[in-house]
């Protein structure tokens, strides 16, 4: 499964400045593990204690993965994963 992953500017230090990287996997968890193999350190910015970090939003195509099963979300060839930092404050 070839999955294209869009990386936000704040995480491009892990991807040699690339805004898009390719990864493989049948689930979001697999894709993140696959990304980590090529871009060490990235997983820790996305996942904490086995769950998605609270202030990171990940989309599969246009769908928030929290509504698709989170890390268990299944992916298909050609899906696009987008990582966004949540922006919030008070």
């Amino acid at each position: 499964m070839a999955i294209e992953v869009r990386i936000p500017t704040i995480l491009r230090s892990y991807t040699d400045g690339n805004k898009r990287v390719e990864a493989k996997g049948d689930s979001l968890a697999d894709v993140i593990d696959n990304l980590e193999a090529d871009h060490p350190g990235l997983k820790d910015r996305l996942v904490e204690n086995g769950s998605l970090r609270r202030f990171v939003n990940i989309y599969v195509n246009d769908e928030d993965v929290r509504f698709l099963g989170g890390l268990e979300a299944t992916l298909e060839d050609g899906d696009e994963v987008t990582v966004l930092p949540a922006v919030a404050g008070g």
């Binding site: 500017t9 704040i10 805004k19 202030f55 939003n57 928030d64 987008t82 922006v87 404050g89 008070g90």
Partner: protein, 134 residues
């Protein structure tokens, strides 16, 4: 130092005034690799609150994709405080994730005086910077 045009800054302040008494939020995008605050994008405050803000996620996805396609980044991330000074709250500091962004705060507490200040926030460390309007 944040360098920003008076047109863009006026648009940011106008957005803050418009959404008062709720907090307003948004970005000013600019080319990746530059520090130029060029394209103002007002965002919807999903909280619609006088004390909190968060970017509406679906809108943010569209805006971030557009920036990505245009090779832009959020050079400025702004929001307003509607009853207090334009200084980052504890929540602002805790949730700031972009060490390269200028965090611009606008206070609308005084209807007759615009208060605008800018900060770098890195790992919980807040450093105020000069705002140069050109």
């Amino acid at each position: 130092m944040l360098t920003i045009s008076s047109d863009v800054l006026d648009a940011v302040v106008a957005h803050a005034r418009r959404d008062h008494p709720d907090e307003a939020c948004g970005i000013v995008a600019g080319p990746v690799g530059s520090d130029e605050a060029v394209r103002h994008v007002p965002m919807t405050n999903a909280e619609r609150s006088p004390t909190f803000y968060s970017f509406e996620p679906t809108e943010q996805l569209a805006v971030w994709r557009e920036m990505d396609d245009r090779d832009e980044r959020p050079v400025v991330i702004y929001h307003s405080h509607t009853a207090t000074e334009p200084y980052p709250s504890r929540t602002d500091i805790g949730l700031a994730t972009d060490p390269d962004a200028h965090y611009l705060l606008v206070s609308t507490r005084d209807p007759d005086a615009d208060e605008v200040r800018s900060y770098r926030i890195v790992d919980g460390d807040v450093r105020e910077e000069e705002v140069r309007v050109v």
